[in-house]
């Protein structure tokens, strides 16, 4: 991993120095003991700040979209012939590249505006799981050596394995290597351990009686404080004006009314049909720990079963709701 980090820095430095990209989006060390945070490098010398480790969690594809669109917006008053394009370099693992594929399929920007520094990924550590592993105690230091994790809290030191605290979406990930890239770093990572069990949780949930499913949905949604961190971190949520913010018509109330929160979450998730890459960012950033993945993964499963499609799998495979086939399944159609 240190080797990958080194190469990421070298690549970023090179791309910035030779002018291939205007900015590189990657991860750097945060102020909390083990957190890594998004960083934005424009000066080749700053490439040394970049890190690559098991705490690199949020999906960076969102920032590529943001940077390109902010640049576009800044040029509205520039003459068309004088406008420039912004080229963004990005440190991207499998899920990040799938999000970039979705942006490209949805014609958000051109392929030559993003330079992908692909990195093999062995999964990131989920904050919530890590916190639960130490009973919610504040972690003062946390170090990783291979698959062993050493966690220190006020209450003492604990050794756990990385697999215990990897994000759920990483454990079952089938795309831990980039699906597209311009520069590939390191060797392809081995498959993640639970790929075959990808839909086990969804299958089990489907088996529950309907009222238990509703009770779970209700309980999880009641935690939501409507901060919209899930939406804002999601690379597929890039609408200029989200439906929750529209006033004419007002689709959803502004408060934390039980029904409004349910409808907001339901519809935001539904907008992810064929577009959710299961990067786990929404789960990772949620301050209240809402189990969004339980629901998003169902859309993923149906997408695969009904339309044989996986979000952002390749540039050729179009998002499932933008295409259709004559012979799509229609058992659900009511015939009196």
């Amino acid at each position: 991993m240190e080797n990958i980090e080194k190469q990421v820095r070298e690549q970023a430095k090179k791309l910035l120095a030779d002018g291939t990209v205007d900015i590189v989006v990657g991860y750097e060390k945060g102020t909390l003991p083990f957190q890594t945070i998004p960083c934005f490098i424009t000066n080749p010398d700053d490439a040394e700040r970049l890190v690559w480790n098991r705490f690199c969690s949020v999906n960076l594809a969102k920032y590529v979209h943001d940077i390109i669109f902010a640049h576009k917006a800044s040029q509205v008053r520039t003459k068309p012939e004088e406008r420039t394009k912004k080229t963004v370099g990005i440190v991207a693992r499998g899920c990040t590249t799938r999000s970039l594929v979705i942006h490209l399929q949805e014609k958000q920007y051109d392929r030559d505006q993003v330079v992908i520094i692909g990195v093999p990924c062995t999964g990131y550590i989920a904050n919530k799981k890590l916190s639960m592993a130490v009973n919610g105690a504040e972690i003062t230091t946390c170090t990783v050596a291979g698959d062993a994790l050493s966690v220190e809290t006020k209450g003492g030191k604990r050794d756990i394995t990385v697999n215990e605290v990897l994000a759920d979406s990483c454990l079952t990930c089938r795309f831990n290597n980039p699906v597209i890239s311009d520069v590939m770093i390191g060797d392809a990572a081995p498959p993640m351990p639970d790929g075959e069990k990808e839909y086990n949780a969804v299958d089990a949930f489907e088996e529950l009686p309907i009222d238990e499913r509703w009770a779970y949905f209700t309980k999880e949604m009641a935690k939501c404080i409507r901060c919209y961190a899930c939406r804002n971190t999601c690379p597929s949520c890039y609408c200029k004006v989200c439906f929750v913010e529209q006033s004419q018509p007002r689709w959803v109330g502004a408060g934390i009314d039980e029904s409004d929160t349910q409808v907001f979450q339901f519809m935001r998730m539904f907008h992810m049909v064929g577009r959710c890459v299961d990067c786990g960012s929404c789960v990772e950033v949620c301050p209240m720990g809402v189990d969004l993945r339980k629901f998003l993964k169902k859309l993923d499963k149906d997408d695969l079963q009904l339309f044989n499609h996986r979000a952002g799998e390749s540039l050729e495979s179009a998002p499932s709701l933008s295409v259709h086939r004559e012979n799509d399944k229609e058992e659900f159609i009511f015939e009196p």
Partner: protein, 341 residues
Amino acid sequence: MEKRVIKKDALAGIIKKMAENMVVYAPVRDEDNVLFTVLEEEMEPLLEFDNTKNAPKNFFFPQTEVMMRYMKTERGRELSTVEGEATPAVLFGVRPCDARSFVLLDNVFNDPKYKDPYYIDRREKTTIVSLACVQPPYTTCFCTSVDGHPFSAEGADVLLVDLGDTYLAEFVTPKGEELLKKMGDLPAADEALEAKKEKLSDAAGKAVNGVVPGRAIKSWMDENFEHPFWDTIHQSCLACGTCTYLCPTCHCFDITDEIKKEDGRRIRSWDSCMSWLFTMETSGHNPRPSQKQRWRQRAMHKFKYFVDNYDAIACVGCGRCVMYCPVNIDIRKIVTDISNL
């Protein structure tokens, strides 16, 4: 001021007994969150906890509250009821930083010219029992940098101090003394316990990890509204409202109407300066068009504007925004960085 002693193993019983006759809010574990909730019969109040995830401002200034209801009439819609009548309650187990937040919020909601009846009513009817931080709970705590202290009784009616096998209970306000009557017979505290408290208090103050120049940066802010520094902090911001919604002192809100069939209600709900919609005008003009301006607003509001208006920093140093920011934007670092400019 009354000072009494409560046996450690007796406290939970006293709280539960109080909860039989009145509304008691206390920290309760809910899966991996510790949250303030209404203490129901089967629930156990949490006495050993660091701090809650949600700030207790919710009890005076709920995330969503109905302000008034209205009904359809022949001429339009007319007011039917004004909401917001509070029931007396006890808010138990508030950390001193959070208790101070109420004093800060009073500045806004209990302004001499315009009083906010919803907030004031609840505030007046609620007795606050604080729990001093013998050990500052987190490494992200920085209350002493923003005029607070782990043993501060500011904003509290009763302050509890954990002395090992007993609690020293100080009934600091008349409202607190009123509550004493409901707590049964409690022995008076002697001077030895007082001395012990003072010692613990000194140690706790020194143990607060985060030290930032909270007051000092105002003079820089007075002069540097347009400074390149403001270009450096917002880039990774997701523009979510986590920091503002978990903050004990953030108090911005939105007012919206909701109707179902003919009748409806006017509600107010928390709003966040991190959202582009917050200042967006109908014309399409937005005085704070990008996250840069919004972040400057948040930092300036806490460390300059509030100080200008009320001579207090609108931050109590609880560290929630530091801990729960999804991309770790750290207000302590911002303050420190500014002081080094």
